[in-house]
Symmetry: C2
Subunit: 257 residues, 2 copies
Protein backbone atom coordinates (compact mmCIF):
# COMPACT_ATOMS: atom_id res chain seq x y z
CA UNK A 1 0.00 0.00 0.00
CA UNK A 2 1.15 3.45 -0.83
CA UNK A 3 0.02 4.90 2.46
CA UNK A 4 2.52 2.70 4.22
CA UNK A 5 5.29 3.97 2.05
CA UNK A 6 4.37 7.51 2.91
CA UNK A 7 4.37 7.10 6.65
CA UNK A 8 7.49 4.99 6.49
CA UNK A 9 9.51 8.08 5.68
CA UNK A 10 9.29 10.40 8.62
CA UNK A 11 7.87 13.91 8.54
CA UNK A 12 10.63 16.28 9.44
CA UNK A 13 11.38 19.79 8.39
CA UNK A 14 14.26 20.29 6.03
CA UNK A 15 14.13 23.99 6.52
CA UNK A 16 12.28 26.31 8.77
CA UNK A 17 9.77 27.58 6.26
CA UNK A 18 8.82 29.25 3.04
CA UNK A 19 10.67 32.46 3.81
CA UNK A 20 13.96 30.60 3.80
CA UNK A 21 13.17 28.23 0.97
CA UNK A 22 15.42 28.63 -2.04
CA UNK A 23 12.43 28.11 -4.28
CA UNK A 24 10.35 30.91 -2.83
CA UNK A 25 10.66 32.91 -6.00
CA UNK A 26 9.28 30.05 -8.08
CA UNK A 27 6.66 28.73 -5.73
CA UNK A 28 3.56 30.00 -3.94
CA UNK A 29 5.35 32.54 -1.70
CA UNK A 30 5.85 34.74 -4.74
CA UNK A 31 2.19 35.68 -4.44
CA UNK A 32 2.21 37.12 -0.93
CA UNK A 33 3.83 40.03 0.82
CA UNK A 34 6.69 39.20 3.14
CA UNK A 35 4.60 40.11 6.17
CA UNK A 36 1.93 37.63 5.13
CA UNK A 37 4.29 34.76 4.54
CA UNK A 38 3.88 33.49 8.05
CA UNK A 39 0.18 33.03 7.45
CA UNK A 40 1.16 30.84 4.53
CA UNK A 41 3.67 28.91 6.58
CA UNK A 42 1.02 28.29 9.17
CA UNK A 43 -1.03 26.15 6.82
CA UNK A 44 1.74 24.55 4.79
CA UNK A 45 3.31 21.39 6.12
CA UNK A 46 6.98 21.49 5.33
CA UNK A 47 9.34 19.03 3.79
CA UNK A 48 8.05 15.50 3.82
CA UNK A 49 10.75 13.17 2.53
CA UNK A 50 10.04 10.45 0.01
CA UNK A 51 12.08 7.69 -1.55
CA UNK A 52 11.86 6.54 -5.13
CA UNK A 53 8.59 4.73 -5.71
CA UNK A 54 6.82 6.35 -2.77
CA UNK A 55 3.37 7.70 -3.44
CA UNK A 56 2.48 11.28 -2.62
CA UNK A 57 -1.18 10.56 -3.19
CA UNK A 58 -3.18 7.89 -4.92
CA UNK A 59 -5.85 8.09 -7.57
CA UNK A 60 -9.38 7.83 -6.14
CA UNK A 61 -8.28 8.49 -2.58
CA UNK A 62 -9.94 11.50 -0.90
CA UNK A 63 -8.55 14.80 -2.07
CA UNK A 64 -7.19 17.01 0.66
CA UNK A 65 -4.03 18.74 -0.42
CA UNK A 66 -1.91 19.93 -3.27
CA UNK A 67 1.82 19.50 -2.94
CA UNK A 68 4.70 21.79 -3.81
CA UNK A 69 7.80 19.98 -4.93
CA UNK A 70 10.89 21.07 -3.03
CA UNK A 71 13.48 18.65 -4.37
CA UNK A 72 13.58 15.53 -6.49
CA UNK A 73 11.11 14.63 -9.23
CA UNK A 74 7.59 13.29 -9.45
CA UNK A 75 5.44 11.72 -12.11
CA UNK A 76 1.68 11.70 -12.10
CA UNK A 77 -0.37 9.04 -13.83
CA UNK A 78 -3.75 7.44 -14.05
CA UNK A 79 -4.64 3.78 -14.23
CA UNK A 80 -7.31 2.55 -16.58
CA UNK A 81 -9.69 -0.19 -15.57
CA UNK A 82 -7.40 -2.80 -17.08
CA UNK A 83 -4.58 -1.44 -14.96
CA UNK A 84 -2.84 0.26 -17.83
CA UNK A 85 -0.80 3.25 -16.81
CA UNK A 86 -1.05 6.65 -18.45
CA UNK A 87 1.57 9.18 -17.43
CA UNK A 88 0.04 12.65 -17.22
CA UNK A 89 2.98 14.76 -16.14
CA UNK A 90 6.50 15.14 -14.80
CA UNK A 91 7.17 17.64 -12.03
CA UNK A 92 10.33 19.30 -10.81
CA UNK A 93 11.16 21.47 -7.78
CA UNK A 94 9.11 24.66 -7.54
CA UNK A 95 6.15 23.06 -9.29
CA UNK A 96 2.83 22.04 -7.82
CA UNK A 97 0.94 18.78 -8.14
CA UNK A 98 -2.68 17.98 -7.55
CA UNK A 99 -4.11 21.05 -9.24
CA UNK A 100 -6.26 18.90 -11.48
CA UNK A 101 -8.09 17.56 -8.45
CA UNK A 102 -8.83 20.82 -6.67
CA UNK A 103 -12.34 20.85 -5.24
CA UNK A 104 -12.94 17.30 -6.34
CA UNK A 105 -13.77 14.59 -3.88
CA UNK A 106 -10.93 12.34 -4.99
CA UNK A 107 -7.56 12.64 -6.63
CA UNK A 108 -7.88 12.16 -10.36
CA UNK A 109 -4.40 10.70 -10.65
CA UNK A 110 -1.63 9.17 -8.60
CA UNK A 111 1.67 10.85 -7.88
CA UNK A 112 4.85 8.92 -7.28
CA UNK A 113 8.42 9.98 -6.58
CA UNK A 114 10.87 9.23 -9.39
CA UNK A 115 13.83 9.70 -7.08
CA UNK A 116 14.57 10.90 -3.55
CA UNK A 117 12.11 13.74 -3.18
CA UNK A 118 10.71 16.19 -0.68
CA UNK A 119 7.37 17.94 -0.85
CA UNK A 120 5.42 20.56 1.06
CA UNK A 121 1.76 19.84 1.67
CA UNK A 122 -0.88 22.50 1.00
CA UNK A 123 -4.20 21.53 2.61
CA UNK A 124 -6.69 23.00 0.22
CA UNK A 125 -9.52 23.85 2.56
CA UNK A 126 -7.26 26.02 4.66
CA UNK A 127 -5.63 27.43 1.57
CA UNK A 128 -8.99 28.44 0.09
CA UNK A 129 -9.80 30.09 3.35
CA UNK A 130 -6.57 32.04 3.30
CA UNK A 131 -7.16 32.98 -0.33
CA UNK A 132 -10.34 34.83 0.50
CA UNK A 133 -8.35 36.95 2.94
CA UNK A 134 -5.35 37.53 0.65
CA UNK A 135 -6.68 38.54 -2.78
CA UNK A 136 -3.22 38.37 -4.36
CA UNK A 137 -3.04 34.76 -3.29
CA UNK A 138 -6.38 33.98 -4.87
CA UNK A 139 -5.27 35.75 -8.00
CA UNK A 140 -2.05 33.78 -8.10
CA UNK A 141 -3.83 30.50 -7.61
CA UNK A 142 -6.30 31.30 -10.38
CA UNK A 143 -3.23 31.92 -12.50
CA UNK A 144 -1.62 28.64 -11.53
CA UNK A 145 -4.72 26.70 -12.43
CA UNK A 146 -5.16 28.62 -15.63
CA UNK A 147 -1.64 28.11 -16.84
CA UNK A 148 -1.95 24.45 -16.05
CA UNK A 149 -4.91 24.38 -18.42
CA UNK A 150 -2.88 26.10 -21.06
CA UNK A 151 0.06 23.78 -20.68
CA UNK A 152 -2.17 20.79 -20.92
CA UNK A 153 -3.67 22.29 -24.07
CA UNK A 154 -0.25 22.67 -25.55
CA UNK A 155 0.50 19.07 -24.77
CA UNK A 156 -2.68 18.10 -26.58
CA UNK A 157 -1.56 20.11 -29.56
CA UNK A 158 1.83 18.50 -29.46
CA UNK A 159 0.27 15.05 -29.41
CA UNK A 160 -2.26 15.75 -32.09
CA UNK A 161 -0.02 17.37 -34.67
CA UNK A 162 3.61 16.60 -34.08
CA UNK A 163 5.93 13.78 -34.99
CA UNK A 164 7.91 11.65 -32.58
CA UNK A 165 11.00 13.78 -33.09
CA UNK A 166 9.12 16.98 -32.37
CA UNK A 167 7.54 15.57 -29.25
CA UNK A 168 10.82 14.43 -27.81
CA UNK A 169 12.59 17.64 -28.75
CA UNK A 170 9.80 19.48 -26.99
CA UNK A 171 10.22 17.49 -23.81
CA UNK A 172 13.98 17.92 -23.81
CA UNK A 173 13.66 21.67 -24.27
CA UNK A 174 11.02 21.87 -21.58
CA UNK A 175 13.27 20.11 -19.11
CA UNK A 176 16.16 22.31 -20.19
CA UNK A 177 14.10 25.43 -19.52
CA UNK A 178 12.97 24.23 -16.16
CA UNK A 179 16.48 23.41 -15.05
CA UNK A 180 17.61 26.79 -16.27
CA UNK A 181 14.93 28.49 -14.21
CA UNK A 182 16.42 26.90 -11.16
CA UNK A 183 19.85 28.19 -12.19
CA UNK A 184 21.08 24.75 -13.12
CA UNK A 185 22.69 23.83 -16.40
CA UNK A 186 20.27 24.03 -19.30
CA UNK A 187 22.46 21.88 -21.50
CA UNK A 188 23.52 19.08 -19.21
CA UNK A 189 21.16 17.21 -16.94
CA UNK A 190 19.89 13.84 -15.93
CA UNK A 191 16.50 12.56 -17.01
CA UNK A 192 14.61 11.69 -13.85
CA UNK A 193 12.38 9.19 -15.65
CA UNK A 194 12.89 5.98 -17.65
CA UNK A 195 12.29 5.82 -21.40
CA UNK A 196 9.07 3.95 -20.82
CA UNK A 197 7.60 6.88 -18.92
CA UNK A 198 8.67 9.30 -21.61
CA UNK A 199 7.05 7.16 -24.27
CA UNK A 200 3.93 6.70 -22.24
CA UNK A 201 3.66 10.43 -21.62
CA UNK A 202 4.30 11.42 -25.24
CA UNK A 203 2.18 8.71 -26.79
CA UNK A 204 5.13 6.84 -28.24
CA UNK A 205 6.52 3.34 -27.95
CA UNK A 206 9.64 2.94 -25.86
CA UNK A 207 11.50 1.81 -28.94
CA UNK A 208 10.59 5.00 -30.74
CA UNK A 209 11.91 7.11 -27.89
CA UNK A 210 15.14 5.22 -28.01
CA UNK A 211 15.45 5.49 -31.76
CA UNK A 212 14.78 9.20 -31.80
CA UNK A 213 17.32 9.88 -29.07
CA UNK A 214 20.04 8.01 -30.91
CA UNK A 215 19.04 9.77 -34.12
CA UNK A 216 19.41 13.11 -32.33
CA UNK A 217 22.80 11.97 -31.16
CA UNK A 218 23.88 10.96 -34.65
CA UNK A 219 22.79 14.37 -35.89
CA UNK A 220 24.99 15.98 -33.29
CA UNK A 221 22.07 17.59 -31.48
CA UNK A 222 22.60 15.84 -28.17
CA UNK A 223 24.82 13.40 -26.38
CA UNK A 224 23.03 10.59 -24.58
CA UNK A 225 24.47 8.29 -21.99
CA UNK A 226 21.63 6.43 -20.36
CA UNK A 227 19.72 9.08 -18.48
CA UNK A 228 22.45 11.59 -18.83
CA UNK A 229 21.62 14.18 -21.47
CA UNK A 230 23.90 16.80 -22.90
CA UNK A 231 22.38 19.23 -25.35
CA UNK A 232 25.00 20.16 -27.93
CA UNK A 233 22.82 22.22 -30.23
CA UNK A 234 20.03 23.97 -28.38
CA UNK A 235 19.05 26.05 -31.38
CA UNK A 236 18.96 22.96 -33.55
CA UNK A 237 16.41 21.34 -31.26
CA UNK A 238 14.33 24.49 -31.22
CA UNK A 239 14.21 24.56 -34.99
CA UNK A 240 12.48 21.19 -34.89
CA UNK A 241 9.57 22.84 -33.08
CA UNK A 242 9.36 26.09 -34.92
CA UNK A 243 5.89 25.10 -36.02
CA UNK A 244 4.10 25.29 -32.70
CA UNK A 245 4.50 28.42 -30.70
CA UNK A 246 5.00 27.79 -27.07
CA UNK A 247 5.12 24.06 -27.08
CA UNK A 248 8.55 24.32 -25.52
CA UNK A 249 6.65 25.25 -22.40
CA UNK A 250 4.06 22.56 -22.86
CA UNK A 251 5.40 20.37 -20.08
CA UNK A 252 6.52 23.11 -17.75
CA UNK A 253 4.28 22.90 -14.80
CA UNK A 254 2.75 25.38 -12.42
CA UNK A 255 5.18 27.43 -10.44
CA UNK A 256 5.62 30.78 -12.12
CA UNK A 257 3.00 33.14 -13.36
Amino acid sequence: MASNQITRTANFSLQRGCHECSLSKLCIPIAVESDQIEQLEEIIKQGRMLSRGDYIFEQHSPFKSCFALRSGAIKTFTLSEEGEEQVTGFYLPGEIIGLDSVSMDNYSCSAVALERTSVCEIPLDRFEDLSTRIPSLQHHFFGLLSSEIQQSRQLSMLLSKNTAEERIASLLLSLSNRFKRRRLSETHFKLPMPRSDIGNYLGLAVETVSRVLTRFQNQGLIKVQGRDIEILDLAGLQVLLKHDTGCIEAHAKAGTS
Copy 2:
Protein backbone atom coordinates in the same frame (compact mmCIF):
# COMPACT_ATOMS: atom_id res chain seq x y z
CA MET B 1 -11.07 42.60 -38.15
CA ALA B 2 -12.83 40.58 -35.57
CA SER B 3 -13.54 43.53 -33.34
CA ASN B 4 -15.69 44.98 -36.08
CA GLN B 5 -17.67 41.81 -36.27
CA ILE B 6 -18.29 41.95 -32.58
CA THR B 7 -19.60 45.45 -32.46
CA ARG B 8 -21.56 44.90 -35.62
CA THR B 9 -23.96 42.73 -33.68
CA ALA B 10 -25.61 44.84 -31.06
CA ASN B 11 -25.42 44.23 -27.32
CA PHE B 12 -28.91 43.65 -26.05
CA SER B 13 -30.29 41.55 -23.26
CA LEU B 14 -32.04 38.37 -24.19
CA GLN B 15 -33.27 37.86 -20.70
CA ARG B 16 -33.25 39.86 -17.55
CA GLY B 17 -30.55 37.96 -15.74
CA CYS B 18 -29.04 34.82 -14.32
CA HIS B 19 -31.93 34.11 -12.00
CA GLU B 20 -34.20 33.59 -14.98
CA CYS B 21 -31.69 31.88 -17.21
CA SER B 22 -32.61 28.35 -18.15
CA LEU B 23 -28.99 27.35 -17.75
CA SER B 24 -28.63 28.55 -14.19
CA LYS B 25 -28.28 25.01 -12.93
CA LEU B 26 -25.39 24.33 -15.30
CA CYS B 27 -23.62 27.64 -15.16
CA ILE B 28 -22.01 29.89 -12.56
CA PRO B 29 -25.21 30.68 -10.62
CA ILE B 30 -25.15 27.16 -9.22
CA ALA B 31 -22.39 28.32 -6.89
CA VAL B 32 -24.20 31.13 -5.12
CA GLU B 33 -27.20 31.42 -2.83
CA SER B 34 -30.31 32.88 -4.36
CA ASP B 35 -29.93 36.05 -2.31
CA GLN B 36 -26.45 36.58 -3.69
CA ILE B 37 -27.39 36.10 -7.29
CA GLU B 38 -28.00 39.77 -7.81
CA GLN B 39 -24.40 40.50 -6.89
CA LEU B 40 -23.46 38.12 -9.67
CA GLU B 41 -25.84 39.75 -12.11
CA GLU B 42 -24.35 43.08 -11.31
CA ILE B 43 -20.99 42.17 -12.77
CA ILE B 44 -22.10 39.89 -15.61
CA LYS B 45 -23.01 41.48 -18.92
CA GLN B 46 -25.92 39.59 -20.36
CA GLY B 47 -26.59 38.11 -23.72
CA ARG B 48 -24.39 39.51 -26.44
CA MET B 49 -25.52 38.12 -29.78
CA LEU B 50 -23.09 36.78 -32.34
CA SER B 51 -23.42 35.47 -35.88
CA ARG B 52 -21.49 32.59 -37.36
CA GLY B 53 -17.86 33.57 -37.80
CA ASP B 54 -17.95 36.37 -35.23
CA TYR B 55 -15.12 36.44 -32.76
CA ILE B 56 -15.79 36.50 -29.03
CA PHE B 57 -12.15 37.31 -28.37
CA GLU B 58 -8.94 37.07 -30.27
CA GLN B 59 -5.64 35.44 -29.42
CA HIS B 60 -3.04 37.90 -28.09
CA SER B 61 -5.59 40.62 -27.41
CA PRO B 62 -5.72 41.84 -23.79
CA PHE B 63 -7.50 39.47 -21.48
CA LYS B 64 -10.42 40.94 -19.61
CA SER B 65 -13.28 38.50 -19.40
CA CYS B 66 -14.39 34.94 -19.53
CA PHE B 67 -17.64 34.18 -21.31
CA ALA B 68 -20.51 31.89 -20.47
CA LEU B 69 -22.20 30.40 -23.48
CA ARG B 70 -25.96 30.88 -23.41
CA SER B 71 -26.95 29.52 -26.81
CA GLY B 72 -25.26 28.39 -29.99
CA ALA B 73 -21.78 26.91 -30.23
CA ILE B 74 -18.21 28.14 -30.14
CA LYS B 75 -14.84 26.81 -31.13
CA THR B 76 -11.57 27.99 -29.68
CA PHE B 77 -8.30 27.76 -31.56
CA THR B 78 -4.78 29.05 -31.75
CA LEU B 79 -2.80 30.14 -34.76
CA SER B 80 0.82 29.16 -35.18
CA GLU B 81 3.36 31.55 -36.58
CA GLU B 82 2.77 30.20 -40.05
CA GLY B 83 -0.93 30.88 -39.63
CA GLU B 84 -1.86 27.26 -39.15
CA GLU B 85 -4.97 26.75 -37.09
CA GLN B 86 -5.18 24.42 -34.12
CA VAL B 87 -8.64 23.85 -32.68
CA THR B 88 -8.46 23.58 -28.89
CA GLY B 89 -12.09 23.08 -27.97
CA PHE B 90 -15.78 23.11 -28.76
CA TYR B 91 -18.19 24.76 -26.37
CA LEU B 92 -21.92 24.45 -25.89
CA PRO B 93 -24.49 26.36 -23.80
CA GLY B 94 -23.78 26.35 -20.08
CA GLU B 95 -20.04 26.11 -20.63
CA ILE B 96 -17.41 28.75 -20.07
CA ILE B 97 -14.63 29.92 -22.36
CA GLY B 98 -11.46 31.80 -21.62
CA LEU B 99 -10.52 29.86 -18.51
CA ASP B 100 -7.12 29.07 -19.94
CA SER B 101 -6.30 32.77 -20.02
CA VAL B 102 -7.34 33.74 -16.51
CA SER B 103 -4.83 36.11 -14.94
CA MET B 104 -2.79 36.26 -18.10
CA ASP B 105 -2.21 39.49 -19.91
CA ASN B 106 -3.54 38.22 -23.22
CA TYR B 107 -5.93 35.59 -24.48
CA SER B 108 -4.06 32.43 -25.32
CA CYS B 109 -6.53 31.46 -28.02
CA SER B 110 -9.24 32.89 -30.20
CA ALA B 111 -12.93 32.06 -29.84
CA VAL B 112 -15.31 32.16 -32.76
CA ALA B 113 -19.03 31.41 -33.06
CA LEU B 114 -19.83 28.30 -35.09
CA GLU B 115 -23.43 29.36 -35.48
CA ARG B 116 -25.80 32.02 -34.19
CA THR B 117 -24.70 32.35 -30.59
CA SER B 118 -25.20 34.40 -27.46
CA VAL B 119 -22.77 34.80 -24.59
CA CYS B 120 -22.61 36.43 -21.18
CA GLU B 121 -19.47 38.32 -20.34
CA ILE B 122 -17.74 37.80 -17.00
CA PRO B 123 -15.18 40.54 -16.37
CA LEU B 124 -12.55 38.76 -14.40
CA ASP B 125 -11.25 41.55 -12.21
CA ARG B 126 -14.70 42.16 -10.81
CA PHE B 127 -15.35 38.45 -10.59
CA GLU B 128 -12.19 37.87 -8.57
CA ASP B 129 -13.25 40.64 -6.29
CA LEU B 130 -16.64 39.08 -5.77
CA SER B 131 -15.01 35.68 -5.20
CA THR B 132 -13.15 36.93 -2.16
CA ARG B 133 -16.50 37.94 -0.65
CA ILE B 134 -18.38 34.78 -1.61
CA PRO B 135 -16.23 31.78 -0.66
CA SER B 136 -18.56 29.34 -2.36
CA LEU B 137 -18.02 31.25 -5.58
CA GLN B 138 -14.27 31.05 -5.21
CA HIS B 139 -14.57 27.37 -4.45
CA HIS B 140 -16.72 26.82 -7.51
CA PHE B 141 -14.34 28.70 -9.74
CA PHE B 142 -11.38 26.72 -8.44
CA GLY B 143 -13.40 23.68 -9.38
CA LEU B 144 -14.16 24.97 -12.86
CA LEU B 145 -10.51 25.62 -13.55
CA SER B 146 -9.50 22.33 -12.06
CA SER B 147 -11.93 20.26 -14.07
CA GLU B 148 -10.82 22.10 -17.18
CA ILE B 149 -7.31 20.85 -16.42
CA GLN B 150 -8.60 17.37 -16.00
CA GLN B 151 -10.58 17.42 -19.20
CA SER B 152 -7.63 18.72 -21.10
CA ARG B 153 -5.58 15.90 -19.59
CA GLN B 154 -8.10 13.40 -20.79
CA LEU B 155 -7.94 14.85 -24.25
CA SER B 156 -4.19 14.45 -24.16
CA MET B 157 -4.63 10.84 -23.16
CA LEU B 158 -7.11 10.32 -25.95
CA LEU B 159 -4.73 11.77 -28.49
CA SER B 160 -1.70 9.93 -27.23
CA LYS B 161 -3.16 6.47 -26.96
CA ASN B 162 -6.30 6.07 -28.99
CA THR B 163 -7.09 5.27 -32.59
CA ALA B 164 -9.07 7.43 -34.97
CA GLU B 165 -12.23 5.43 -34.28
CA GLU B 166 -11.86 5.81 -30.54
CA ARG B 167 -11.25 9.53 -30.80
CA ILE B 168 -14.31 10.12 -32.90
CA ALA B 169 -16.47 7.86 -30.78
CA SER B 170 -15.29 9.83 -27.78
CA LEU B 171 -16.26 13.14 -29.31
CA LEU B 172 -19.67 11.86 -30.37
CA LEU B 173 -20.37 10.53 -26.89
CA SER B 174 -19.16 13.75 -25.32
CA LEU B 175 -21.54 15.77 -27.45
CA SER B 176 -24.30 13.31 -26.69
CA ASN B 177 -23.72 13.71 -22.96
CA ARG B 178 -23.67 17.44 -23.14
CA PHE B 179 -26.90 17.59 -25.11
CA LYS B 180 -28.46 15.23 -22.63
CA ARG B 181 -27.43 17.47 -19.75
CA ARG B 182 -29.42 20.23 -21.35
CA ARG B 183 -32.39 17.88 -21.62
CA LEU B 184 -32.05 17.58 -25.37
CA SER B 185 -31.91 14.33 -27.28
CA GLU B 186 -28.76 12.38 -26.58
CA THR B 187 -29.15 10.28 -29.70
CA HIS B 188 -30.10 12.79 -32.34
CA PHE B 189 -28.34 16.09 -32.83
CA LYS B 190 -26.59 18.32 -35.29
CA LEU B 191 -22.83 18.74 -35.31
CA PRO B 192 -22.12 22.44 -34.93
CA MET B 193 -18.72 22.16 -36.62
CA PRO B 194 -17.41 21.01 -40.00
CA ARG B 195 -15.39 17.83 -40.43
CA SER B 196 -12.23 19.84 -40.83
CA ASP B 197 -12.60 21.26 -37.32
CA ILE B 198 -13.25 17.81 -35.91
CA GLY B 199 -10.16 16.48 -37.61
CA ASN B 200 -8.07 19.40 -36.54
CA TYR B 201 -9.24 19.04 -32.95
CA LEU B 202 -8.70 15.29 -32.78
CA GLY B 203 -5.43 15.26 -34.67
CA LEU B 204 -6.85 13.49 -37.71
CA ALA B 205 -7.09 14.26 -41.39
CA VAL B 206 -10.50 15.33 -42.68
CA GLU B 207 -10.59 12.24 -44.83
CA THR B 208 -10.10 10.04 -41.82
CA VAL B 209 -12.99 11.68 -40.01
CA SER B 210 -15.18 11.08 -43.00
CA ARG B 211 -14.08 7.48 -43.39
CA VAL B 212 -14.63 6.67 -39.73
CA LEU B 213 -18.09 8.19 -39.71
CA THR B 214 -19.16 6.16 -42.72
CA ARG B 215 -17.58 3.09 -41.17
CA PHE B 216 -19.63 3.70 -38.02
CA GLN B 217 -22.68 4.02 -40.21
CA ASN B 218 -21.96 0.78 -42.03
CA GLN B 219 -21.57 -0.91 -38.66
CA GLY B 220 -25.01 0.33 -37.67
CA LEU B 221 -23.66 2.46 -34.83
CA ILE B 222 -24.85 5.77 -36.18
CA LYS B 223 -26.73 7.37 -39.04
CA VAL B 224 -25.00 10.33 -40.66
CA GLN B 225 -26.54 12.86 -42.98
CA GLY B 226 -24.10 15.70 -43.34
CA ARG B 227 -23.98 17.31 -39.93
CA ASP B 228 -27.02 15.48 -38.73
CA ILE B 229 -26.05 12.63 -36.40
CA GLU B 230 -28.29 9.93 -35.08
CA ILE B 231 -26.78 7.51 -32.62
CA LEU B 232 -28.34 4.11 -33.15
CA ASP B 233 -26.18 2.12 -30.74
CA LEU B 234 -25.02 4.20 -27.81
CA ALA B 235 -23.65 1.20 -25.96
CA GLY B 236 -21.78 0.10 -29.04
CA LEU B 237 -19.95 3.38 -29.22
CA GLN B 238 -19.14 3.22 -25.55
CA VAL B 239 -17.60 -0.20 -25.97
CA LEU B 240 -15.09 1.34 -28.36
CA LEU B 241 -13.74 3.44 -25.48
CA LYS B 242 -13.87 0.93 -22.69
CA HIS B 243 -10.10 1.27 -22.37
CA ASP B 244 -9.88 4.80 -21.06
CA THR B 245 -11.97 5.67 -18.09
CA GLY B 246 -13.60 9.01 -18.34
CA CYS B 247 -12.58 9.97 -21.81
CA ILE B 248 -16.25 10.23 -22.64
CA GLU B 249 -16.10 13.42 -20.66
CA ALA B 250 -12.85 14.56 -22.20
CA HIS B 251 -14.40 17.24 -24.32
CA ALA B 252 -17.13 18.29 -21.92
CA LYS B 253 -16.21 21.72 -20.80
CA ALA B 254 -16.55 23.70 -17.63
CA GLY B 255 -20.08 24.18 -16.42
CA THR B 256 -20.80 21.58 -13.78
CA SER B 257 -18.74 20.56 -10.84
